[in-house]
């Protein structure tokens, strides 16, 4: 086991993937709890498709991918929030509209410029080779910002997640905090989709939250538990993908799926102490 870890760390691209992956997994787990409870988890999926379109355009223009993807996905997040609020269309059909639209634009842009090649495959399913050291710096900065904002706004995020009408009535600016949540989600998705791929990134948001809610009975312990699960699954997944030479994103999702199954089984035994 030690040999595997030493040999993993001897590859710079693996070390980069470990650093960025850990931070992204942590951020995604924190935001995921709130998004899942607010029934917003499909927003993550919608945004990852918008991210695919943005990456396709960035590669056609030959620019630094994050510089294009970050503003485009944030704009997408605002659009999704607005469409969810407007009540003219139900939230899930609005999400479907935006995500398939963005996917189609992305495919068109790629086929008109470089043609369908390994790039497309990497965008869809992720690649640990895709990160330059410049990307790593930007990703670390974004992740740290997300972490700090989440911790500072923790109590507000709880209030807005649990009961929007009460929070609004007692003077909490719910639009502001919903927007903060959307922006943070957009940032995490843009950073994470390089490793996980746009088809799999939303699993990082959904799985740890759902898994920890099977056993935890307090919001704070759900947050802590899903952070731990998310980071452990990410590391296990990266090791698995190295050993089996499998795609990293899929390996990480498989680990999450296994942990979910284990927790599901545990939750059937009522003797587990419910004090978490």
């Amino acid at each position: 086991m030690n040999d595997v870890i030493t040999s993993i760390l001897s590859y710079p691209f693996m070390a980069r993937a470990l650093v960025v992956g850990t931070l992204v997994a942590l951020c995604a787990a924190l935001l995921g709890v709130s998004l899942v409870l607010k029934r917003f988890s499909m927003i993550g999926d919608g945004l990852s498709h918008v991210g695919f379109g943005a990456l396709a355009i960035a590669s056609a223009l030959n620019t630094q991918p994050l510089l294009i993807a970050v503003p485009v996905v944030i704009a997408g997040a605002f659009l999704l929030l607005r469409m969810n609020r407007a009540d003219k269309m139900s939230g899930d059909s609005a999400t479907a509209l935006l995500s398939t639209g963005a996917l189609a634009i992305g495919v068109m842009v790629i086929s008109m410029s470089s043609g369908m090649n390994t790039n497309v495959y990497n965008y869809l399913f992720g690649s640990i080779l895709g990160m330059s050291s410049q990307d790593v710096v930007l990703s670390v900065v974004i992740s740290v910002v997300v972490l700090i904002v989440f911790v500072l706004f923790y109590n507000r995020i709880f209030a807005v997640t649990f009961d929007e009408s009460f929070a609004a009535a007692t003077g909490t600016r719910i639009q502001l905090y919903n927007s903060v949540l959307a922006i943070l989600t957009a940032l995490v998705i843009v950073v994470g989709m390089r490793i996980m791929g746009s088809l799999l990134i939303s699993s990082l948001i959904v799985f740890p939250a759902l898994t920890s809610m099977l056993l935890c009975r307090r919001f704070f312990s759900v947050i802590i538990c899903s952070s731990v699960i998310s980071v452990v699954c990410l590391l296990a997944g990266l090791i698995l993908s190295y050993v089996l030479a499998a795609p990293a994103g899929a390996s990480i999702v498989i680990c999450n799926l296994v942990v979910y199954g284990v927790f599901r089984l545990l939750s059937l035994f009522h003797s587990i102490p419910r004090t978490l």
Partner: protein
């Protein structure tokens, strides 16, 4: 000065008037019940009183140093809350959010306020329990404790006994009565339960797209508005516990 004064107040959605000609006052220590048919504009008025909806006309004035964000609100339960993983303490403490200002975290002072309110509503022994595993009555007490954390003067309760069985309903009314009389908190309650409204409240407001009645329960019992509301409910075969025969018969 009255805690709340409404003068010719009206609310509208997209220029369609939902309710207007509202003229009533809420005094310190009052227990005001807002009654009316479904769709009479009660929920709109609640939103208005909380400043979540702007008046279409007239004036809504707060007195005695009351601020809009210092009204303890007990909303109707949402689907999200029914399976929400949170402890009782976490939920109650979130009521102190309007005391934070720009601070990010709660201090011992806020935790003490939450403790006192849990004690007053006798849920202190449940403070580490999971909210979603409580009974309906206990959940409402938790939300009432949270509302008390947000205010020093006034709580606004939107159908606080909806979905509770008769025994739990009675207990909930007892707690609300205690909040009003012992803790000296002014109560505004939206209710379907005319009988309880007449028994506990000090003021009744009936609306049906406009103000139909405002006054004491004694006056209300004798009023034609009361008789009409009871009749229309009986016509729809809604059993009204404790309604005197004389009121519903011709």
């Amino acid at each position: 000065m009255s805690l709340i004064t409404c003068e010719n107040l009206s609310y509208a959605y997209d220029n369609v008037v939902i309710c207007d000609q509202l003229n009533f006052q809420v005094e310190d220590g009052d227990y005001l019940c807002i009654v009316g048919e479904n769709g009479a504009g009660k929920s709109t008025l609640v939103k208005g009183l909380l400043h979540l909806k702007k008046p279409a006309g007239g004036q809504l004035l707060y007195g005695d140093g009351l601020r809009a964000d210092e009204i303890g609100y007990l909303p109707q339960q949402t689907q999200i809350q029914k399976d929400f993983p949170a402890s009782v303490q976490e939920v109650v403490l979130s009521g102190c959010l309007n005391r934070l200002g720009l601070r990010p975290f709660f201090t011992a002072a806020e935790k003490e306020i939450a403790r006192q309110n849990m004690e007053a509503l006798e849920i202190l022994d449940l403070k580490d329990a999971c909210y979603r595993q409580l009974s309906g009555g206990q959940q409402q007490r938790v939300l009432l404790a949270r509302a008390l954390c947000a205010t020093k003067k006034l709580v606004l309760l939107d159908e606080p006994v909806a979905g509770l069985d008769p025994a739990l309903t009675q207990t909930m009314y007892d707690y609300i009565y205690k909040v009003n009389r012992k803790m000296g908190i002014t109560v505004i309650m939206v209710s379907h339960d005319l009988e309880a409204a007449l028994r506990f409240s000090t003021r009744i407001l009936q609306i049906g797209h406009r103000q139909l009645f405002f006054g004491t329960p004694e006056e209300y019992r004798k009023s034609p508005q009361y008789r009409m509301l009871v009749q229309s409910r009986n016509a729809r075969h809604v059993r009204l516990p404790g309604t005197e025969k004389g009121d519903s018969d011709e």
